[in-house]
């Protein structure tokens, strides 16, 4: 877990600052608020979660009110508004994946990790979330960890993935 939430100021690293500035420059003059969702992704990539301090920093950068950031961050499901483990498993719970045994595999995954939906393992290595359709229904059951899709899941495959990420 990242500990930077204990400090009161957050700043992007020089690389991420350059990236953020390039994003802002893509929009017409005065429309910099369009950069809000991309900047929140950059923030979360750096901090591991979307912290209040980070959101305030983004608000300042875009010259908007902090509430405009909070209301957006809380609307979308990808922004973690509380600290999370190192690997956030986002497990698809929608119909097509369930037809392929998604519910049974999910039960196994929870047992394997020893946690329920929304919880983080005591060693802070895994956080488990349920998400809706990830647009990979032909390869279900599916879960995602950051950018990577894990497809055609079975109990055995889940064991392999978790064991691999535990080392």
């Amino acid at each position: 877990m990242n500990t930077s939430n204990t400090t009161n100021t957050i700043e992007f690293t020089p690389e991420r600052l350059a990236q953020a500035k390039a994003v802002i420059a893509q929009y017409p003059a005065g429309k910099q608020k369009s950069a809000l969702l991309p900047l929140l992704h950059i923030l979360q990539e750096q901090e591991g979660w979307t912290s209040p301090e980070g959101m305030d920093y983004v608000a300042t950068m875009l010259d908007i009110q902090p509430i405009e950031v909070y209301e957006v961050a809380s609307f979308y499901t990808m922004y973690h508004l509380e600290p999370v483990g190192k690997h956030v498993i986002e497990y698809c719970r929608t119909g097509p994946c369930c037809l392929m045994g998604g519910e049974e595999v999910y039960a196994h995954l929870k047992q394997k990790l020893g946690i329920e939906t929304g919880q983080t393992t005591p060693d802070s290595r895994f956080t488990l979330k349920e998400v809706e359709c990830l647009a990979a229904c032909g390869m279900g059951p599916v879960f995602q960890i950051r950018e990577k899709y894990y497809t055609n899941l079975t109990n055995e495959r889940v064991d392999e993935i978790i064991d691999e990420l535990s080392n």
Partner: protein, 446 residues
Amino acid sequence: MGKKILTEHINVPGIETFDVYRKQGGYTAVEKAIKTMTPEAVVEEVKKAGVRGRGGAGFPMGMKWSFLAKPEGVPRYLVCNADESEPGTFKDHYLMKNIPHLLIEGMIVSSFALGANTSFIYVRGELMYVIKILEKAIAEAKAAGFLGKNILGSGYDLELVVQPGGGAYICGEETALLESLEGKRGNPRNKPPFPAVKGLYQSPTVVNNVESIATTPWIMNNGGDAYAAIGIGRSTGTKLISASGHIKKPGVYEIELGVPVEEFIYSDEWCGGIRDGHHLKALVAGGSSVPILPAGLALKLANGEPRLMSYESLSEGGFQTGTMLGSGGFIVFDETACIVRNTWNFSRFYHHESCGQCSPCREGTGWMEKVLHRIEHGHGSMHDIDLLVDVARKIEGNTICPLGDAAAWPVASAIRHFRDEFEWHISNPFEATQPGAVFRGDMVLA
């Protein structure tokens, strides 16, 4: 083998790179359009092609383009809807990941036709790896002179921006998408004004699906008439179908519109049939929002004629005996699938994804989820079935955007065609809540 327009070269090794895509004839449509045609002529070809919006609504793309307001001195925008989130749909994901330049080429042609100098591709945020693929493709196209200032010496400028979403099904609705692109919550806007008049940044805007835009290079190269000659009737061209569920070969297939549903399911060219030892029970033909059909009505119209994969044939019989082509999210259920459980699952999805602006949707989707949950878990009463029908009817047509309808239709259609299954759950709560229990009563399979 049917005609392939979008996926003809998708398996060529290296097709995701500019060089290989170019060698396969890529970007000739941009050259043709920008060097030899006027924007009006490009619009005319797309109109002739009769392409209908591939995101789900099926509205003719050329007509949508012709509605774009063109006031002097006001920028116009093209926004590509790549927010693909409709359960059962994964074709845009497949297309963008494998052949990103097809979308980029289509964006250039379409932006030129509409007079847009900045265009956006709004991709659902979960597909961050696809966003990186698109950004790389854009950089390559720019380096080759197909994007940026003064494209091919024509004086036409275009910048493409790839925008990530934040995780919200509702942003696939075009006005919610525009709100999101402006850095706000994805609350759909009241219409009118339509985006064609006041869209992104209150400027005239066209929003088109990935697959729709990806048809334009072929239309430029071959002409609108050639495109319209493919398919059947007003369902012109080809369609990407995302096939999932209990079939032997799930995946994305490009079909000529008009293929019989039965052939699509059982032919080895496509789904390869129902998985071994099982039989077709039900079909959701166009993404989770469209009405579910029992096997008999999925394969044949009420008059016994074969049902075809086309806008008209799938909707034949209205919602009494028909459904919709929608996004082409083709979800197949065999006899092991519990319709009640699946309907509860879908209603949970819509409740989760409702933006909360309109009371009928915000409250109604929650009520439907709750009632379906109790039926599925052995606590339902017979009155609940009519209650569900009543709630669905009161949501439908009473919301700003179509999410309300999308939530109501799966519930209403499941009860219309599988009422005995709901009744069985209510009459036999113990049996129905055993793991894997499915009603086998008078089930008609194919």
